[in-house]
């Protein structure tokens, strides 16, 4: 599944970096510690976090993540938006907390896996 399909199915808003909306999502990863994401997330992961600092973009690029979902109604900082547009890192937003966001994403990705296999 790609970012656009997931955003549509789970009602996530695409806030910026929409050039990345066709990125394929391999799996999800949830953490608010960027050092932890740098160590543990994998290529293609959709990253669930409440951190809105511009450093999230560098981490997403470094780990070749498919995108970022900001939870709890958090919005990217102004600098983050500008840079996300430039770098083409897609940022989604939802009012749901991380637990529900991860739960719904997990379920959706699992269902999709089952259909394909």
């Amino acid at each position: 599944m790609n970012i656009a399909e997931i955003a549509d199915r789970l009602n996530f808003e695409i806030v910026c970096g929409s050039t990345g909306k066709n990125n394929m999502v391999t799996w999800g990863y949830t953490s608010d510690m960027l050092s932890n994401v740098m160590g543990n997330a994998s290529e293609g992961n959709l990253w669930i976090t409440m951190q809105s600092h511009k450093n999230i973009l560098a981490v997403a690029l470094l780990k070749e993540l498919s995108g970022i979902v900001l939870v709890n109604g958090h919005r990217p900082d102004t600098e983050t938006v500008t840079q996300a547009e430039k770098e083409g890192v897609v940022i989604l937003a939802t009012d749901l907390p991380a637990f529900e966001t991860a739960g719904r994403l997990y379920q959706l990705l699992k269902e999709n896996e089952d259909i394909q296999s």
């Binding site: 608010d32 510690m33 050092s35 809105s52 600092h53 511009k54 450093n55 560098a58 600098e79």
Partner: protein, 248 residues
Amino acid sequence: MRTFKADFHVHTVLSPCASLDMAPVKIIEKAVAEKIDILAITDHNSTLHCKLMCKLGKEAGIKVLPGVEITTKEEVHCLAFFETVETANIFQQIIEKHKPDIPNRKEIFGYQPVVDRDENILYEVDWLLISALSLNLGEAAEIVSMMNGIFVPAHIDRPSNSLLANLGFIPDNLKIDAVEISKSIDFNALLMKTPEIARYTVIRGSDAHCIEDIGSGFTMLYIENDDFDEIKMAFAAEAGRKVMALKK
């Protein structure tokens, strides 16, 4: 010029996590005993003890820097030092404007008393001082810089509430005057792991939460006198002033 011994990271009884024996007079007594020349008072998200501490420091012949340890929106702890109590008071208003609506539960987090020199409790701060402000790291650094202060991400080696753990690496163009490392960390080992910190002035503070810990981590400055401008010049390594390299 000569060397000055500084402890840039000391809490008082106002911080909920600090020991109740961190009374203003006792802190100064211990600092004198540890031969500290410059002492920064850095309570969590509050400068309310700075005025008293500066006064007591003056009486004892110790330079007290009015300061604070803020928790940014990213939950990164950062130290800020100001030239005067008046400037610290202005920063206090900025903190109040960005404080979260989280009441302190003292049975869980601890007391947050503002005291006088005789340890009488004047009042207790009612919001939880260790919670995150709505200011982000860049905004906080910018404000402190505009106020001619010194801004230093705290204990960057720690696994939580630190710049490196929470944000992965030091962002470009961040207006910081130095980074602080924990008192027990091996500086050379940290440098191997995180070579980027070689670009910054590095200080070590005690992060004292109890009397015995005051001065257990310290930094030596090579400066003319203990004026704020001299300290600033040392952080910037200007005009021969400097922060001496950490021993280990």
